[in-house]
Amino acid sequence: SQTIHQWPATLVQPVGSPLSLECTVEGTSNPNLYWYRQAAGRGLQLLFYSVGIGQISSEVPQNLSASRPQDRQFILSSKKLLLSDSGFYLCAWSVSYGYTFGSGTRLTVV
């Protein structure tokens, strides 16, 4: 069956520390992968999407980066977190316009 795993569920990190959030997909090949973020009082905003290994497109300028080292692995990173990076991060994949979402990571930068 098709599933998506995202971890950790919650994370509290100090300002200036690095970040690595991981998302893996099972049961499908060559999916389109997405990272979304919901900041306080705002909707889900698309941060990055990937149509294949090593292919990353950034939707908005930010302090974050993404990588796709394997077909079913999508990583969200930061070298130095800012307070404004706090939010709820969702990984998603789509095949033929059907979207499946991960369980999300609540990141609090303190």
Partner: protein
């Protein structure tokens, strides 16, 4: 510009009352619209899509191109409907655009 607007951050109703969660969109082409729902401690999941013209859990949504709206409705709210609801637009790029989300609170 492609945009989805959900004007209400929170909608609170009593059990049995009608519910309407508002969604307006801005898109120059033919829109493909969705409602997603996230129940407490669960994943974001698809509730319904306008193409299907279906009713899920008693909810319906009609696309009104004249008013550029896709409001979600249910005649009699249930406590288990309490959740966060997102309206979303899928443009030709294939990248979902979400609204800000509306928290529906159904009180007993």
């Amino acid at each position: 510009a492609q945009r989805v607007t959900q004007p209400e951050k929170l909608l609170s109703v009593f059990k049995g009352a009608p519910v309407e969660l508002k969604c307006n969109y801005s898109y120059s082409g033919s829109p493909e619209l969705f409602w997603y729902v996230q129940y407490s401690r669960q994943r974001l999941q698809l509730l319904l899509r306008h193409i299907s013209r279906e009713s899920i859990k008693g909810f319906t949504a009609d696309l009104n191109k004249g008013e550029t709206s896709f409001h979600l409705k249910k005649p009699f709210a249930q406590e288990e409907d309490s959740a966060m609801y997102y309206c979303a637009l899928l443009p030709y790029t294939g990248k979902l655009i979400f609204g800000q989300g509306t928290t529906l609170q159904v009180k007993p």
